[in-house]
Amino acid sequence: MAGRGRGVKTGTLTQEQLQTLGCVGKDMPQVAQAPPPTYPPLMSKPVTLETTASQNYQILWKEDFLNHMRDSAYFLQPIEKSIAGRGVSRYNPKQTNADQCIKLKPRTEFNWSLMPAELQMANKKRKIVPKEAAVKLKKTKPGNIEDRLKVLEEKEQTEDDVDAPNKTNSDSEEDVEEEVGEDVDDEMDDDNDYGNAYFDNGEAYNEEDDNLDDGPVY
């Protein structure tokens, strides 16, 4: 640009230019050096609120209602929040408390017949357990443990009887058999209330979504 020499101020208007534009010195806005106050100053004091018995009743009831809703199954938090950091701090006591709270919440009760079917379909638990696994799980009910042990004992005895004449096996082979037996017992004792096949690591979420996005097949 022409006229821009050394020592010439650029970027701002000169006093004369401002005056021609109609801005007189005192009208110039002051440079803001601090943010404005969060709350504007009150010109007058607000009216004090009356307290009546009915108001007190309503305030207390509302507090109860909100607490009830917060503890109910109908209070939903996004999954990331409710189980956030599970992988990072697995043994965080706070986290386990939060998990307990989620578990303690009663289950939601919806009357699906009065709602579109797509909502129910999305909420259905998908059973991807193969039949054999289901049968296996059924066998490992805690009540049947003693019966099962007896059956196994009898089986062992009969097997021993059968194998007695041929008992030339080495100790190492016996150990292998015991180990197999232990494996079965392990599943019965430790994992009796936890179905491995039901475990959902969360990776399948999107896959389900993709399948369902197209809508049901008619």
């Binding site: 305030i59 996004p78 017949s113 709602m115």
Partner: protein, 522 residues
């Protein structure tokens, strides 16, 4: 619907149903109707989360759905925007029922509000399991039926069975108007069996009939109360009682939600009702004068239309709420700009159109101050300016123009309503902030209270209890008291704001022109 109202709805949904429902609610608020896939895409939530959130909103009657016009197998969901605000009034509804039907009625209303909608039998079962209610099941059932007869409870639309008998992908729900307040058949013997767990709850005869609070009926009562208390403040208790009986007589022949004015009634009819129900001798003796007083008053609650039957009158709902709303606006102006500004506002209201110079003379306010105040009012949109240009002038100089101040009542009411929504949003947000900020302290004091209560039950020594109470240190107690006080003030402000919102909403409803196709009402 304004942005402020959207924010308010959002924070109410978050407070009651959590963040997921809030996100879904926000998404639905922005559009008239959306499909499930659309909501999933816009909220970035999983399909299951969105479905559960929608299920909750449908259960609590905050969302409706209908089949898409093009694809009848796809549902479109829309938010009942007005009804979200009703959540803030739940405590008021319960209080009204408490005063009318006692604790049993309150327990029924509470159960219905807690679960959104419920069958009669389930509500009764839940009330029976409530430890605070020691009434017989017959009493609870009778109260429930009475509440239906008084229209405080309303039947929800039921499933329309298909021809093939198979459920439809998007179920159709319908209910006839005559069936809305039809009491259900409650089999107490079966109920006892369900309670003893010998029979499933689904086998009950009314398992498919759901009930909800009829909010319109409550609003009718609030509206009446609003008018009666206004008459009481201005003309005394006898006039208020007289107006109460006038309203009672009005409902005999008028739809409660008729917009402009009621159907006519005569003084003789009111006299009969008063003599039958009232013990106020002053009112019985001077009923004619009280009715004339109400008709002559500047509130314009009733208007004389004929001489038949000792004088024929109508209740003028539109002008009544206009005067109430204007009184409210005047109060706001007095609090914000002072009494002189309020005087200027009244002068503009009286004169309808007025120039600046006349205004300062009429209001008897010094010229400079009047100018400042009227411009302030104009800036905040409490008064409007109409420019009338004088014809002619040509190129000889600037054309002369008159600047007249005038009022647009509805615009002011809408603006105030928005301010109220914004204030309510700020109030709830601040209250939540206070609760979160001092969560640890509040929880500690709650825990302490419950421990002390159990100790007292057990009969522990006072010294020991005092020792336990000392775990909350004096500075902590001081902070706690301050926080509790602040939250209580915010809650009270919430109630007062809701009162103002209700009044302004009533004014806007009654001042609206009667539409050709009347809106469907519950």
């Amino acid at each position: 619907m304004s942005i402020d109202y959207g924010n308010l709805c959002s924070v109410i949904l978050k407070q009651c149903f959590g963040e997921t429902v809030q996100l879904v609610g926000d998404c639905l608020f922005a559009a008239n109707a959306r499909s499930l896939g659309n909501i999933v895409k816009s909220t970035n939530l999983t399909r299951r989360e969105v479905s559960t959130a929608l299920g909750i909103l449908i259960k609590y009657q905050l969302v409706t759905f209908q089949a898409n016009d093009v694809n009848p197998f796809m549902a479109e969901y829309s938010l009942k925007r007005d009804e979200i605000l009703y959540i803030l009034r739940y405590s008021r509804y319960v209080h009204l029922i408490q005063t009318k039907y006692g604790s049993v009625g309150a327990a029924i209303a509470e159960e219905l509000l807690y679960s959104g909608s419920q069958t009669a039998s389930n509500t009764l079962l839940k009330c029976l399991s409530n430890n605070e209610i020691n009434e017989k099941v017959e009493t609870i059932r009778d109260t429930f039926v009475q509440m239906i007869r008084d229209n405080y409870l309303i039947k929800l639309p039921m499933l329309v069975p298909t021809e093939s008998g198979e459920p439809e992908l998007v179920p159709k729900l319908h209910i006839e108007d005559y069936d809305l307040f039809n009491p259900p058949e409650i089999d107490l013997a079966m109920l006892a069996k369900v309670q003893a767990r010998t029979v499933q709850a689904s086998q009950l005869r009314d398992a498919a009939v759901f009930w909800q609070l009829n909010f319109k009926r409550f609003h009718q009562d609030f509206r009446d109360q609003c008018m009666i208390s206004a008459v009481e403040r201005k003309l005394g208790s006898s006039a208020a009682e007289c107006f109460k009986y006038i309203l009672k007589q009005m409902y005999e022949r008028t739809d409660p939600w008729q917009r402009q004015c009621s159907n006519p009634f005569t003084v003789v009819e009111v006299k009969q009702v008063v003599e039958k129900n009232s013990s106020n001798l002053d009112l019985i003796r001077h009923l004619d004068q009280y009715v004339a007083l109400l008709a002559d008053d500047s509130l314009h609650f009733i208007r004389k239309i004929g001489e038949m039957g000792g004088g024929q009158y109508v209740v003028d709902l539109a002008p009544a709420f206009e005067s109430l709303a204007l009184a409210c606006i005047e109060n706001v102006i007095t609090e914000r700009f002072g009494s002189k500004a309020s005087r200027i506002f009244r002068v503009v209201r009286m004169k309808k159109y007025i120039e600046q110079e006349d205004l300062q003379k009429e209001a008897m306010v010094p010229a400079k101050e009047a100018k400042l105040l009227s411009y302030n009012l104009f800036q905040e949109q409490f008064v409007q300016i109409k420019t009338i240009r004088k014809a002619g002038g040509g190129g000889t100089g600037p054309a002369k123009a008159f600047y007249l101040f005038y009022l647009k009542y509805k615009q002011i009411a809408k603006m105030l309503l928005d301010i109220c929504f914004k204030a309510l949003y700020n109030d709830i947000t601040r209250s939540n902030y206070e609760k979160n900020e001092h969560k640890r302290l509040i929880e500690k004091s709650q825990k302490l209270d419950s421990i002390v209560a159990t100790m007292k039950e057990r009969g522990e020594s006072l010294e020991y209890i005092a020792e336990i109470l000392e775990t909350l240190t004096p500075p902590e107690r001081e902070i706690l008291d301050k926080v509790k006080n602040r939250i209580k003030t915010l809650s009270k402000a919430e109630l007062s704001l809701d009162d103002t919102i209700f009044l302004l909403q009533m004014y806007l409803y009654h001042s609206a022109q009667v539409s050709v196709a009347p809106a469907t009402k519950k």
